[in-house]
């Protein structure tokens, strides 16, 4: 049996508000981390495998600012680019895809109307649809889906929801552990493994990254296909490359660019 050559991906996430990258550190303070287009290009140069841009306010008022940000960012990078936050309809998805991103991440709107997944997938292909799941532990091996930026329980089991969205045409799952998000204490490997082994589509782990070993853990113990982080990269805590070196040393297939 030939060893796997498909690289495990490291994805840099830009949380954007009003055209600037921000990141709430444990939900308390918001620090301005810079211009999204510049940061996306810097992350790409540093070896990030993909860029995700999340509009964290996602009000109708800020929509035009977002589209301009997406357009500027897309012009700077030649790696896959996903946009999420506030995508509630096929038209919303079309607007950001027309600005040059490759995939859209949908969350609350898919819970409210699961057919939205199929509608976007049939127009743009499943590869363009990333289903975002915010999950919080609700039992020893059970996690509940939350919507509205983590404020409202959706009454759905995360594993069952993942399988359902896969059947509706989602191409990837972006799985965020709300218990770990912002803590920098490591990914929730148990949650990730549960979803990643149940799903037949790739699963991106998110929430909790703080150290290079956390990435190694989520690939080895969590069976993740990709891992996403935000502040760990923006504030220079750890470079993408140092994380990838540690992954390579652990025997994980990884794309090294420098």
């Amino acid at each position: 049996m030939r060893s796997e050559t498909l690289a495990k991906r490291i994805i840099a996430c830009l949380d954007v508000d009003g055209g600037r990258v921000v990141k709430g550190v444990q939900f308390e303070q918001i620090r301005d981390a810079g211009d999204p287009a510049e940061l996306a290009a810097a992350h790409s140069e540093a070896g990030a495998d993909e860029i995700v841009l999340l509009d964290i306010t996602a009000t109708a008022h800020s929509r035009n600012t977002l589209l301009e940000t997406v357009r500027r960012t897309a012009n700077q990078i030649f790696i896959p680019f996903t946009v999420g936050g506030g995508i509630r309809s096929l038209d919303d998805a079309a607007a950001v895809l027309d600005c040059g991103c490759d995939k859209v991440a949908i969350n609350s709107a898919a819970v409210a109307d699961p057919l939205l997944i199929s509608r976007i997938a049939s127009r743009y292909g499943s590869q363009a649809v990333v289903l975002a799941i915010d999950a919080r532990q609700s039992g020893t091996t059970a996690w509940e889906v939350y919507v509205w930026g983590g404020r409202k329980p959706a009454g759905l089991d995360a594993q069952a929801w993942a399988k359902r969205t896969e059947a509706m045409g989602a191409g990837e799952i972006l799985l965020t552990s709300m218990d770990r998000d912002g803590t920098q204490s490591g990914f929730d490997c148990s949650l990730t493994r549960t979803i990643a082994t149940a799903a037949r589509i790739p699963v991106i782990a998110s929430g909790g990254a703080g150290e290079p070993r956390h990435f190694v853990e989520v690939f080895q113990q969590g069976a993740a296909d990709a891992a996403l982080a935000a502040s760990v990269f923006h504030f220079g805590l750890k470079s993408v490359n140092s994380i990838k070196q540690e992954m390579r040393d652990a025997g994980i297939p990884v794309r090294l660019t420098c």
Binding site: A7, F78, D102, Y124, G125, A128, R200, I201
Partner: protein
């Protein structure tokens, strides 16, 4: 001028953006006359094989086949590459261009599908499209069907089994990966095509 054929299959702006970045002119077009006037043609595309229906006949099909008859360089990307084979299990009732021999098949249940992410390719030194790209280079893939290995295969990738990552015959080229999304390595592949 490079014509990027807009036959309704997905988002073509990123291919045009990458070509512009390399300093070449391109136009995303659904106009058969514009395809006829171009000196190179790119057939991009994502999604279902049935999306290639507009290429099968009518104005589009005629213009693309005319470009091929005039030996203009042509590059199929992703679904565009698959269309250059004889057909696909995804739409058995439809024919491809049949430049390359064989039929595209789906990844089995044994692996996650789509095959998404950066994977390594093995390059044959004779390739003109991949000149300067070394075996082991990573490129970005996203697809659920794969093209078989054929006589014209000039690069392979491994996922579940080996499949065609790139093929070429004369001025006709196809790549399964997305050169416009594969960083500097991908830009080099597009640059090679633009220079033909």
């Amino acid at each position: 001028m490079i014509a990027i054929v807009d036959y309704g299959a997905g988002n073509l702006a990123s291919v045009a953006k990458a070509i512009g970045h390399l300093g070449h002119n391109s136009v995303v077009t659904a106009d058969a006359d514009e395809i006829r006037r171009a000196d190179k043609v790119i057939i991009p595309g994502v999604g279902n094989f049935t999306a290639t229906l507009p290429l099968a006949n009518g104005d589009f099909g005629t213009a693309v086949r005319q470009a091929i008859a005039e030996e203009k360089p042509l590059l199929g990307i992703c679904l565009g590459l698959q269309w250059m084979f004889e057909g696909s299990e995804e739409a058995p009732e439809m024919n491809g261009l049949a430049t390359f021999r064989g039929t595209c098949t789906r990844f089995s249940e044994a692996v996650k599908s789509p095959h998404v992410g950066w994977n390594r390719i093995e390059v044959q030194p004779r390739s003109r499209l991949l000149k300067g790209i070394l075996s082991g280079a990573y490129l970005y893939f996203t697809h659920s069907y794969r093209a078989p290995i054929c006589d014209d295969t000039i690069a392979t990738c491994f996922y579940e089994q080996k499949f065609t990552a790139a093929a070429e015959r004369g001025p006709l080229f196809g790549v399964q990966f997305h050169p416009e999304k594969s960083g500097t390595v991908g830009l080099k592949v597009l640059g090679n095509f633009c220079a033909f």
